[in-house]
């Protein structure tokens, strides 16, 4: 009793309080380390991006025969592009956590003294990077194989803005759904079943936004409304993912 009172009055008597406290890795350091791991893994043994890219080109060929057109424009072109990108994204989402789950990476991360949000940020950013890499291949392939009118550079810049906002939404939803699905038995079945309905607002806004850019009669500007819808979607799922991700990687 008296000893504890004495300690309270003289805190300087304990010389090593920082060493006794658990060392917390700052979020930025943890995210950087995780990102280096994710991107390094994909660069050394490319798996997700080549599969997604190959799938997207194959899907474009399938579309050519299924809709029986050599060239598409307008709303049909927007639809073909976004269905292709979305389905290719499903492949990336279902692989996102598999390596960590199978090789014990999640357990290793849980042992590290850091905020679990770091994993969310790292996974979402790496999925975003994979999607961007996919689009670098899929969009030119689409323009080359199927797109009737060739839009100017301005239209491509606007398409890039749409793609960026849509990719952010897909990356956030994909990280949540991927983290859920990796712990289930029916992993590859559940990812498209859960993710596709959740991504329908993205498809609506992205397809509506893309249509004026690929019109047969020449490109018109994108409606800012759709960029706002995508931004709102990203914001909402960003907050949801931030609030709920911790519960998905316990134990």
């Amino acid at each position: 009793m008296s000893a504890s009172a004495g300690e309270r009055t003289a805190p300087a008597a304990r010389p090593e309080p920082p060493a006794a406290e658990p060392r917390v890795v700052p979020l930025r350091t943890a995210v950087r380390a995780l990102l280096r791991k994710e991107l390094g893994l994909e660069l050394r043994a490319p798996q997700a991006v080549p599969a997604m890219a190959l799938f997207s080109v194959t899907t474009l060929v399938v579309f050519h025969f299924a809709i029986q057109r050599g060239q598409v424009g307008g709303d049909l072109a927007a639809g073909v592009l976004w269905v292709t990108l979305l389905f290719a994204a499903m492949l990336g989402i279902s692989r996102l956590f598999v390596a960590d789950h199978e090789e014990g990476g999640l357990d290793g991360f849980l042992l590290a003294p850091t905020d679990r949000t770091a994993l969310l940020v790292a996974k979402a950013v790496s999925l975003f990077a994979f999607l961007a890499a996919l689009e670098v291949i899929a969009v030119p392939a689409f323009a080359l194989l199927l797109l009737g009118p060739s839009p100017g550079l301005g239209a491509y810049a606007q398409l890039a803005a749409l793609l960026t906002l849509a990719d952010a939404g897909i990356a956030l939803v994909g990280t949540l759904v991927g983290a859920i699905a990796v712990q289930t038995r029916a992993r590859d079945l559940l990812v498209p079943l859960i993710a596709l309905p959740l991504l329908i607002p993205v498809v609506i806004a992205a397809a509506k936004g893309t249509t004026p850019l690929v019109l047969e009669a020449g490109a018109r500007g994108v409606d800012v409304r759709w960029l706002l819808v995508l931004g709102l979607y990203d914001l909402m799922f960003g907050l949801l993912a931030y609030a709920l991700f911790d519960y998905l990687i316990e134990d």
Binding site: L176, I180, Q183, T184, R185, A186, L189, L190, L193, I194, P197, L198, I200, P201, I204, A205, K208, R225, V229, L232, Y233, M236, L240, L244, Y247, L248, E250, D251
Partner: protein, 245 residues
Amino acid sequence: MLYGTRLRALSIATLITMTAAFGLAFFYAPMDADQGFMQKIFYVHVPMAMVALGGFVFGGIMAIQHLRTGDPKHDLRSYVAIHLSLILGVGVLVTGAIWAKASWGHWWVWDEPTLVSFLIVFLLYATYQPMRFSIEDRERQARYASVFAIVAGAFVPLNFLAVRLAQAYTHPRVFATADGGLPAKMQLAFLVSLAGMALLYVTLWRYEMASKHTSAQLRALRRKLSGDDAVTPVGRTAAPSLPTT
């Protein structure tokens, strides 16, 4: 909480309100000038849709409670709410298709944003049970189901906004709000129908909760009476398990 108490009174109240609602809808509310008798399905379809969506939101709120407290009873409440809303959802889609066939001549129309949004929400929630079923660890199943219920609950309004925006220019809204443009007699019939449907939902919810609790208690009593071996273990199931102590 005992879910079995006052169930009889609640059931009778539901029965009376639903009978009154149908009576009002058929004999008191005036015939619709355009759609005639077929418009009466409005008194089933719209309350059912509103109650189903309300049930999804209630499931989401219970899921938040579950994640905050870790108490499995909130997970059971959320599960039962979503499960019942899904069943009502089938009814909503069927009555919606019938109404669409009668007034527009097609079983399905894409320019009715509310119905389209409802289909998307329904498709999303239809994955709730398969997802639960494919997670074996009970504690993890409950936790993941709650995360799903919260994400889906927040998705509902966003989805309605996006679908509405996609069709903003094609069609004006007929029933912009619950009371927008409805004559007073129709409004009364509609409100009573809504109350009846809500009561039906609450009654069914209480029945299922009571049933789940009773069977859990029965298992616990059996185990106490004749030992652990007498009770066959629960197989893999989508339904949340209650602590049987």
